[in-house]
């Protein structure tokens, strides 16, 4: 039985499926109920290997607008000179520093990019050391110093404008149950910078899913997996929700690692200590999403309401004690049909989200001129868990913090996509590099499978 079953319909799942199919495996994709993701950088290797010629990454222009306290907006563009122009209105010093900052960050992001298009490195190996040394003295020192830093300290070192620091600092805490003063959030800023042009600090969107769905050779099943069937510690197939069972010698799951191993697999197959460690993987949902239909353009492509680092930190303070932020960090993206996709942080899993939609609409309405919302839908972390199958509503499955990144993601024992169950592999957002990178985990996982 040479069939491979891929669980999920995310970019990671589909990429793994197509790479396996191209290598001659019969592949069946079972949509696990988890949702599509078109947000996030896609490694160029994926595009090359699957020959996705029409592939496009895109950012709004400006990629971010942030309202200023006395009217007007800070606008950050892909064009460095235009950003500098906009920043100059806030601070001449910050404007002057912007290009150098972007250059320093871009160098580190390129270093991470190389690590992301491969399984996690062995930090104590010679090749890793050599690669790090190629950064040069300043680059290596930046790497060692900046990765563990709080993003607030990094930004305080460089800039003085609160609005600029707030807008950038927000990228350090995206989907994270930490505030900008928490160590390791500077790493997050760099993580979301990977694959972006210098000076852009938000993950792009792409047409990756649309292109993947158009590719031939992979059979899609619109049902859900209930269990992965095992015999003698090895995969024999899957049992589906519609009652059928499919035989397979290989199952690749893009569902979150805990669900894949603790729900799909009968308890008893895993070493208890390993199962305990897996349960302790932190994946706390902190984001609510609001979808809004406007009757006309709001006058921005992307707007962030995070006026300062302290504002973000105070928003986090509420979440620490289990409450929705009184003044949340809000970021809205608008598409051509005037649909707004709004990221609201912090809304911790389990907290009462009633009234949140109205509060956020009131906040945003100050910035969208005469536009009128016609329909709105708020998804709390609990609903995101239900509909998207994100554990506790955490889009990254496992929070991307330094202790759950790279060779630690989501656990050292799983970092190379292989599980203790023979024939069961993981390729979702909870795997390296995951967390808002579309397709790299699927790509790396498929290559690991094929290599073995």
């Amino acid at each position: 039985m040479n069939r491979a079953i891929v669980i999920g319909s995310s970019a990671d799942a589909l990429i793994a499926a197509h790479l396996l199919a191209r290598a001659g495996r019969e592949v069946m994709v079972v949509e696990g109920g988890d949702s599509s993701q078109d947000e996030g950088w896609v490694p160029p290797q994926v595009v090359r290997e699957l020959r996705l010629e029409d592939f496009r990454l895109h950012w709004p222009e400006p990629w971010l607008a942030a309202p200023l306290p006395d009217g007007g907006r800070l606008e950050l563009w892909r064009d460095m000179a235009r950003s500098v122009e906009s920043i100059r209105r806030l601070s001449a010093r910050d404007a002057e520093r912007w290009p150098a900052f972007c250059k320093r960050m871009a160098r580190l992001a390129r270093f991470l990019e190389a690590l992301y298009a491969a399984p996690p490195p062995d930090p104590l190996s010679l090749p890793f050391a050599l690669r790090a040394r190629r950064l040069g003295r300043q680059g290596l020192e930046d790497l060692l110093r900046i990765l563990p830093m709080p993003v607030a300290e990094l930004l305080d070192d460089w800039f003085e404008s609160d609005v600029l620091k707030g807008a950038l600092g927000a990228a350090g805490v995206l989907h994270l149950m930490q505030g900008p003063r928490s160590s390791g959030t500077a790493f997050r800023l760099l993580h979301h910078h990977v694959g972006c042009p210098p000076g852009v600090f938000r993950p792009p969107r792409s047409n990756i899913l649309e292109l993947l769905r158009r590719l031939p050779r992979v059979e899609l099943q619109h049902t859900e997996v209930l269990r992965v069937a095992l015999r003698a510690g090895a995969v024999t197939g899957v049992a589906l929700k519609d009652g059928r069972s499919l035989e397979a010698s290989l199952v690749v799951s893009s569902a979150d690692p805990r669900r894949s191993l603790l729900e799909f697999v009968e308890p008893g197959w895993l070493d208890p200590e390993f199962a305990r460690a897996l349960r302790q993987v932190r994946g706390r949902g902190v984001v609510a999403r609001l979808r809004l239909q406007l009757d006309r353009s709001p006058g921005f492509g992307a707007l962030a309401l995070a006026p300062s680092l302290d504002y973000l930190e105070r928003a986090y303070d509420d979440a620490k004690y289990g409450r929705v932020s009184q003044r949340p960090y809000v970021e809205a993206r608008c598409d051509e049909q005037h649909r707004l996709d709004v990221h609201i942080q912090y809304a911790p899993f389990g907290a009462d989200c009633s009234g949140l939609a109205d509060r956020v609409i009131a906040l945003l309405s100050e910035h969208w001129g005469d536009a009128q919302p016609s329909a709105s839908e708020l998804l709390s972390p609990r609903e995101l868990e239900q509909f998207e199958r994100w554990p506790q509503g955490q889009a990254h499955h496992a929070e991307l913090s330094l202790d759950q990144a790279l060779w630690m993601r989501p656990l050292p024992e799983l970092a190379r996509y292989r599980t203790p169950i023979k024939g069961l592999w993981l390729c979702g957002q909870g795997m390296h590099p995951g967390a808002g990178v579309a397709g790299a985990a699927g790509f790396n996982c498929a290559h690991e499978i094929l290599r073995g």
Binding site: E141, L144, R181, S183, K320, S401
Partner: protein, 524 residues
């Protein structure tokens, strides 16, 4: 020919350790101390007649055993008395006790959580292994990862070798300790709130971070690295207070031939070209030496005593962004009678140990929240000891001294530190403590409150940071105090640094002073 081989700026414990090692190697050493007595933040003072206090640092544990051995400190008067317990009083009248006696400790933990009692030994073993994994690094001059010389490459390789030898499991555990918050780390082991809070408290000591801030798990480990008479994580008092620690080290240095001048304030390091050639004292006296070794913190050393104009821009930039942000204060009380704790009334063995005000992780985190926005914690974390219970000579007969370590009292207080704010801090401490020991207010004869601003003013530690710079991951090992200059050398030839602002940092360890001396002696 200069009269001295080396001048040590500052007679704190690290400066003295460095002086002692250099003198023992035959160098002619002069220690210059600004105050009238040596010790820096490790000193004992009779603050109120008959009441002697370890005014700043107040316990001993991290002092490296090799220093105690090499310098024969017991012969010079160091006598350490063990601290045998920690109790954490709770609001409901109960308490958590942690005792050195294994069985007693287990019974007590089981009272709070059977599961935690089971996990405790395993946790202890794990931290012990981690401390052993870090220990060899404490005595190491951190290699420069960006250097290309054969020596540095070999050193980096040795370091990688050391980590590889730990095995994957331990290496990954170390990774977690370096990157996690103490609260998250402890959540993986324990369920009892008060146990987690009391353990995570050692992760916040000396830093402006809360138990939920990543990086605090390492500080927890740092405080676990203590070793007394071969016993890991044992804490104790120096008989006569922490001044006795400095006194013993100074005695060892003098016995080896080092000269110590107190009341001698260094105004400036003399620089000629790119070389330090001596110092100028306040008052104008110039003293020349082949080497100058600064025990002062990096900011004072480089931006104050040396001066930016003698240093490369990039280095100056690194020192400027080196973070201090002192967050700790001390309240020293002279007591007419012992505090009577509601949870454990009367005079019991618990008063011979530490008392921790850390009822829950949330309590600590809320204390941090206030400090993070520049306010004093209204209900602070406290680590309390009563030295007179162990060393009766610290107080008049029948009376007592109480030493209270307090967090958080941020150096950068909104509106700045004033006498009124200092007293407000003292009141917050006494009020909070009186909730657990109601007789306290009536027992207080005298009160001394030491804020971070006071620590800076009196001892000279920048922003009152007790570690001479935050012990955060981005300021540790090869980055302490600045990348490329973590090996005790400085951009000026003839100038070295030996304070806790260098690897491995603070806590009355003496390791920085010893490592600096070795770096100097190796360089010839």
């Amino acid at each position: 020919m200069p009269k001295y081989d080396a001048i040590i700026i500052g007679g704190g414990h690290n400066g003295l350790v460095c002086a002692a090692y250099l003198a023992r190697a035959g160098k002619k050493v002069l220690v210059l101390e600004r105050r009238e007595r040596v010790g820096g933040a490790a000193m004992t003072e009779e603050v109120f007649p008959g009441f002697r206090f370890s005014v700043f640092s107040y316990v001993v544990s991290l002092l490296r055993p090799e220093i105690i051995r090499d310098l024969e400190l017991p012969r010079h008067g160091l006598h350490i008395l063990p601290l045998e317990s920690t109790i954490t009083p709770l609001d409901n009248g109960d308490y958590l006790g942690q005792w050195n006696d294994h069985d007693q400790n287990r019974r007590e933990l089981a009272r709070h959580s059977l599961r935690d009692a089971e996990a405790y030994d395993e946790f202890g073993l794990m931290l012990h292994q981690m401390a052993r994994a870090i220990k060899p690094m404490l005595a190491m001059a951190p290699p420069d990862p960006a250097a290309l010389s054969f020596g540095e490459l070999t050193a980096m390789n040795r370091l990688a070798e050391h980590f590889r030898a730990l095995g994957a499991k331990r290496f990954h555990m170390l990774h977690k300790l370096l990157t996690m918050s103490s609260a998250d780390f402890l959540d993986e082991w324990f369920e009892s709130e008060v146990l987690k809070a009391t353990k995570s408290a050692s992760g916040i000591i000396g830093t402006l971070l809360g138990p939920r801030s990543p990086g605090t798990a390492y500080v927890l480990l740092h405080h676990y690295m203590g070793e007394l008479d071969g016993v890991f994580r044992a804490w104790g008092f120096a008989k006569g207070g922490n001044g006795a620690v400095s006194g013993a080290i100074a005695g060892a240095a003098q016995a080896a031939g080092a000269e110590i001048r107190t009341g001698a304030t260094v105004a400036q390091v003399l620089v000629k070209g790119s070389r330090a050639i001596g110092v100028v004292l306040e008052g104008g006296e110039e003293i020349r030496a082949s080497l100058v070794v600064s025990g002062a913190d990096p900011r004072r050393t480089f931006l104050g005593l040396v001066g930016e104009k003698h240093l490369p821009d990039e280095f100056v930039e690194s020192i400027r962004r080196f973070r201090f942000r002192g967050a700790s204060a001390k309240v020293n009380l002279a007591l007419g009678e012992l505090p009577n704790f509601t949870c454990l009334p009367g005079r019991g063995p618990h008063l011979r140990g530490a008392i921790s005000i850390s009822p829950s992780v949330e309590y600590l985190e809320r204390a941090y929240d206030e400090a993070k926005y520049g306010e004093i914690s209204r209900r602070p974390y406290m680590d309390i000891v009563i030295p007179s219970m162990i060393d009766p000579a610290m107080a008049p007969p029948g009376k007592h001294v109480m030493s209270i370590f307090v967090q958080y009292a941020p150096y950068h207080l909104n509106g700045g530190w004033t006498d009124a704010r200092r007293e407000a801090l003292g009141d917050a401490v006494v009020d909070t403590l009186a909730q657990y020991a109601p007789n306290l207010k009536g027992a207080i004869l005298h009160r001394q409150v030491v804020t971070p601003a006071d620590i800076e003013r009196i001892v000279g530690l920048a922003e009152g940071n007790i570690f001479q710079g935050e012990l955060s991951l981005q300021q540790m090992f090869f980055l302490r105090p600045a990348p490329a200059w973590a090996r005790y050398r400085t951009p000026l030839s003839g100038l070295y640094q030996c304070g806790a602002g260098t690897h491995p940092g603070g806590g009355v360890m003496g390791a920085s002073g010893r490592n600096a001396a070795h770096a100097i002696l190796r360089a010839g």
